[in-house]
């Protein structure tokens, strides 16, 4: 049986305009596509990935225009649609003024003090 793996994402908006996604959300989704048992924990400013209504459209440089900007809230939702649980550190969200109602449906809050308990359910912790 595959070992359950928790991918932790903390770096936020690192090369998301450049890659048109977050590379760790992307690889988590790719791994899910390969039947991997991967869940995701959003920590630090990456909790903002679950905020609905993000709009990165309109980047234009000279004659170049970005046609496929990142859609991180959609990517989080798609990841959950593939069966991944997506957790976020509630303390980090509160610290940043993010309310539960700001976030896409389905993401699960976890108190920072309960992270150790969350980890106990996983054979691998991959902090990217």
């Amino acid at each position: 049986m595959a070992t359950k793996t928790l991918n932790i994402i903390e770096s936020a908006y690192r090369a998301t305009l450049e890659e048109q996604d977050d590379t760790i959300v992307w690889i988590s989704s790719a791994l899910r596509g390969a039947s991997a048992e991967v869940d995701v924990l959003l920590e630090g400013s990456a909790v903002n990935y679950a905020v609905r209504g993000q709009d990165a459209t309109g980047l234009a440089l000279g004659t170049w225009q970005q046609s496929q900007p990142p859609r991180l809230d959609h990517d989080i939702k798609n990841l959950m649609d593939k069966g991944a649980a997506v957790f976020f550190v509630a303390d980090d969200a509160a610290e940043r003024g993010i309310e539960r109602t700001d976030m896409v449906d389905g993401v699960q809050p976890i108190a920072r003090r309960d992270m150790a308990q969350l980890f106990s359910g996983y054979g691998r912790i991959w902090r990217w």
Binding site: I8, E10, R112, A116, Q117, F119, S120, I125, R127
Partner: protein, 108 residues
């Protein structure tokens, strides 16, 4: 009980996440796990007695084994006599030893 290896590379004077890493190490130890914190790169800047180093002594007192990469210490001119109590210099092989033994290892 699970054996955890936490690898800390961030500069404690620049990154607030370092304190969160220390708290996580303490929480994992309090939950009955065997926990080692291995400081590498600029993470070892916390190991020299300073305004931030007592946190490592506290961690050690809570049962976390606190190690600092001896190469990174030497690279930064941090002598053993200046290390905060509770911090032990260790070769990078300690990381491999933990991986060999099947520790759940992650980097911060």
């Amino acid at each position: 009980m699970t054996t955890y290896l936490l690898i800390g590379s961030q500069d404690p004077f620049e990154h607030s996440g370092v304190q969160k890493l220390y708290s996580l190490a303490a929480d994992l130890a309090a939950a009955g796990n065997e926990v080692t914190l291995m400081l590498v790169e600029n993470g070892v800047l916390a190991a020299r007695r300073s305004t931030v180093s007592e946190a490592l002594q506290d961690l050690s007192a809570k049962g976390v084994s606190v190690l600092a990469d001896s190469f990174a210490l030497r690279e930064r001119g941090i002598e053993q006599a200046r290390l905060q109590s509770g911090v032990q210099p260790a070769p990078i092989d300690h990381v491999i030893e933990h991986l060999e033994a099947g520790a759940v290892a992650f980097w911060n």
